[in-house]
């Protein structure tokens, strides 16, 4: 259990990382819609993941509309895969399940 990455283990952050593992990048609204988190909560978790180097945030515009894009860094993807592997080991799941 001590091998678990606590940063990824938190349920909301785990949801964000799992969602981002399936895409190249996604915007704030997509993440909010899929996770069901409030704006403030999502911002806070994204900032934590960004500080850890797991997520890269880019603020841009789509036409005149502001667009906040988030993507998983290679380090973040590695952390997510390691987390899954560790959990599978703990739960005794024999076959690893690919996320992407």
């Amino acid at each position: 259990m001590s091998d678990l990455d606590r940063l990824v283990h938190e349920p909301a952050r785990l949801g964000i990382v799992a969602l981002l593992s399936g895409v190249k990048q996604a915007d704030f609204l997509f993440l909010q819609r899929e996770t069901g988190l409030t704006k403030g909560n999502l911002s806070s978790h994204l900032a934590t993941l960004e500080d850890a180097g797991y997520v890269a945030i880019e603020k841009t515009f789509r036409g005149k509309i502001p667009l906040t894009l988030a993507r998983l860094t290679p380090e973040g993807l590695r952390a997510f895969r390691t987390y899954k592997k560790t959990m599978q080991g703990i739960l005794g799941i024999p076959k690893p399940i690919s996320a992407t």
């Binding site: 785990l14 949801g15 799992a18 969602l19 593992s21 399936g22 895409v23 190249k24 990048q25 996604a26 915007d27 704030f28 609204l29 997509f30 993440l31 909010q32 819609r33 899929e34 789509r62 509309i65 502001p66 667009l67 906040t68 894009l69 899954k84 959990m87 599978q88 739960l91 799941i93 399940i97 690919s98 996320a99 992407t100």
Partner: protein
């Protein structure tokens, strides 16, 4: 862990929710099938070599036109229709090696299948070829429906298997392949239209505001 995998598949499912990809591919397959049937209808007696050359040229032209329209139109449709409803997302492209392998296998199958059919095209093979294609298509559609949790593909799989069985019982021969393409295309386009109608009824997500 299953639910984690399920969450990771959510973006791909959201990306397909609007049915635009199904509609486009359905129209393409339907057009390919219709093209083959039209070509077959106009087959001169006795057959001329120039007429045989016409089909691959028409087929390649149709594919190029489709690819051109796809690359320009689909991102614009997504931008106008999908982004305001589900938010913006960009799918991860498959690795170059895998894309090249897929492209090469498509080319190899497209070239080798006609050669094999002409070389070993006995009556029973002609009869079975549409059934085999329909079976392969049905299995891959069922896999897609289950893996991505998209039950609409069960409908297309059902259509493919019905056409495959009809092809085996009929004497349509290679022509059954065209009917298979046509009906799979029509059913795919139909489920695409239904998905699109449902998708358009979804509420718009509120846009980000300037801070």
């Amino acid at each position: 862990m299953d639910s984690l995998t399920d969450i990771a598949r959510k973006p791909a499912r959201a990306w397909q929710l609007d049915g635009i990809v199904d509609l486009s591919l359905g129209l393409y397959f339907g057009a390919q099938g219709a093209l083959f049937l039209l070509w077959w209808q106009g087959l001169p007696h006795p057959p001329r070599a120039s007429y045989f050359a016409l089909f691959p040229v028409a087929q390649a032209s149709l594919s190029l036109i489709f690819l051109y329209v796809w690359r320009r139109a689909v991102p614009r449709w997504k931008e106008r229709i999908a982004v305001p409803r589900i938010g913006y997302l960009e799918m991860r492209a498959a690795p170059v090696g895998r894309r090249m392998a897929a492209g090469l296998s498509v080319v190899a199958v497209s070239v080798l299948t006609p050669i094999a059919l002409v070389t070993f095209g006995a009556a029973n093979v002609k009869q079975a070829v549409a059934l085999v294609c329909a079976l392969a298509l049905t299995l891959s559609l069922i896999h897609t429906a289950v893996y991505w949790s998209m039950p609409r593909y069960f409908v297309v799989a059902g259509v493919a298997s019905i056409v495959g069985m009809w092809a085996y019982r009929s004497s349509a021969g290679f022509k059954a392949l065209a009917w298979l393409l046509l009906w799979v295309g029509v059913s795919l386009a139909a489920v695409g239209v239904m998905s699109l109608i449902r998708f358009l009824q979804m509420p718009l997500v509120p846009q980000e505001h300037r801070s």
